[in-house]
């Protein structure tokens, strides 16, 4: 295993495994977020947020998740820099083979945009829920149970700031695009693909990417239109 960590394929395995782990997290994240639009009283979402904040299993997974993000982000920068060094001089006539917008060509840029969005997203919600607190979180949630009113915090942002609605919608679309390449690419990197499975994995990648883009952006859109 000596030079596995620095070998080109070894580095990519880290991207692949953390990427798949982050996709599984996003799947849960999206499912819980959809409670925001299926229950306007906010009770369903508050229960879910409370469960996630208190369940011991989730508490254990949380730092692992943070580590997954950190590895995925740092490794992407490292790999991109190494790859850029492999071509000291570019082509004057550019690249006419792949379209400029193809996610596969723009994974680092898409990832960078998602990273900026992620920082904003953490400041918007996670920091307030876990560290600083917010008066909205202490609002009565109507059930009489002792828990944060996370719904009030989220809905307040989306109802009162159309700019944030747009940012969150774009963020969701970027995550979707990133995954249309990332999902099948992760399997390719760890060798779990062949001529038949590549087509299937690409189909699933497009499906997941589509569901994530529509799913995540539908939430701010719902608040933008309804309220």
């Amino acid at each position: 295993m000596s030079n596995f960590l620095s070998a080109s394929i070894g580095r990519k395995v880290f991207m692949s495994l953390t990427g798949l782990f982050l996709i599984s997290f996003l799947l849960i994240h999206l499912t819980l977020n959809l409670f925001l639009i299926f229950d306007d009283s906010g009770n369903l979402f508050n229960q879910a947020a409370h469960f996630m904040a208190t369940n011991p299993m989730i508490r254990i997974v949380e730092p692992i998740l943070a580590l997954g993000f950190i590895i995925h982000i740092i490794w992407s920068g490292w790999i991109t820099l190494e790859n850029m060094k492999a071509r000291p001089q570019g082509y004057a006539s550019g690249d006419k083979l792949l379209k400029w917008w193809e996610p596969s060509k723009n994974m680092f840029i898409l990832g960078g945009m998602i990273f900026i969005f992620l920082v904003l997203h953490i400041l918007n919600f996670w920091v307030k829920m876990k560290i600083t607190g917010d008066p909205l979180l202490d609002q009565a949630n109507g059930t009489g149970e002792e828990m944060h009113n996370a719904y009030a915090l989220v809905s307040n942002l989306f109802i009162n700031n159309p700019l944030y609605d747009i940012i969150y919608m774009i963020g969701g679309i970027f995550v979707g695009l990133h995954i249309t390449h990332g999902f099948w690419s992760a399997f390719q990197t760890i060798g779990l693909s062949n001529i038949n499975w590549m087509k299937r994995l690409k189909f699933v990648a497009n499906l997941i990417g589509f569901v994530f883009a529509i799913g995540f952006s539908s939430i701010p859109l719902y608040f933008l239109i309804k309220f």
Binding site: R11, K12, N83, A86, K96, L98, S104, Q188
Partner: protein, 253 residues
């Protein structure tokens, strides 16, 4: 049916006197080129013009001119081997170009393939990768019977598809990371599918990947550009096999 004649085209070519020299683009006018002319013949015509004018002809690699030797390279108008599919530059014809068009011709831009002169690059790096493990060690002795080792037809076909690689370097030239992974994958795959090659599978994958990294090629990001640029249409599914072979070998260490 006679081929049409292009009255005038402009060819913008990368000129570089030596590996260390600073290169530059120069634009030449070529007149009365038949569309039935191959791209390399068009450069031959241009070179005749240059020689008659007392100028240095353009240096470019070529040999068989029938798409099997892998010597020709050239990055033409944003495409490795030019704007045709499943073709090397020698199989590219002037019918792919229009009257009055400016055609930009560049050498492969890969750090591990330094420019020797003009459009010629040094592809020794591919030889070094091949020498690191792209072979089957054979003991001397009598020739074994061809039918002694049964091989599935599908496996033989897949190995043959991979073995179609001519080592031209279009994959690395077109890849945004200048990665040699499709070349490596083809060389690893052609052995991995056959029993004679499987004996040294672990050593081969590790040695070839280590050599590729050492020579300064980039890593694969699965854009699939190599497969599209490959004159032999070698599938990136072979890259998945290379990854699998490499990981199996590394985990066993």
């Amino acid at each position: 049916m006679a081929d049409k004649i292009l009255n005038k085209i402009y060819v913008k070519v990368w000129r570089q006197n030596s590996p260390k020299a600073k290169g530059r683009f120069e634009t030449y006018t070529v007149e009365n080129v038949s569309q039935g002319t191959s791209f390399l013949e068009m450069i031959d015509i241009l070179n005749d013009q240059l020689i008659l004018g007392g100028k240095d002809p353009i240096a470019f690699d070529n040999d068989c001119r029938e798409g099997i030797c892998g010597m020709c390279s050239l990055y033409v108008n944003g495409h490795a081997h030019g704007p045709d599919t499943m073709a090397t530059t020698c199989q590219l014809h002037m019918r792919k170009f229009n009257e009055g068009q400016t055609i930009t011709v560049e050498p492969w831009r890969v750090g591990a393939f330094p420019v020797i002169k003009d459009l010629m690059v040094d592809r020794t790096a591919f030889e070094k990768i091949q020498q690191a493990g792209g072979f089957v060690s054979v003991n001397t002795g009598g020739v074994p019977d061809g039918n002694a080792i049964p091989i599935l037809q599908d496996d033989a076909e897949e190995a043959m598809d991979a073995a179609a690689c001519i080592g031209c370097g279009a994959c690395a030239a077109t890849c945004k990371n200048s990665s040699a992974m499709l070349f490596l994958a083809a060389k690893v795959s052609q052995f991995a599918k056959l029993p004679q090659g499987q004996v040294e599978a672990k050593r081969r994958a590790k040695a070839m990947v280590a050599k590729m990294d050492e020579l300064g090629f980039g890593g694969c990001t699965n854009t699939g550009a190599c497969e599209l640029a490959c004159p032999k249409s070698i599938s990136i599914a072979h890259i998945a096999r290379l990854n699998r072979e490499y990981l199996k070998a590394k985990i066993a260490d």
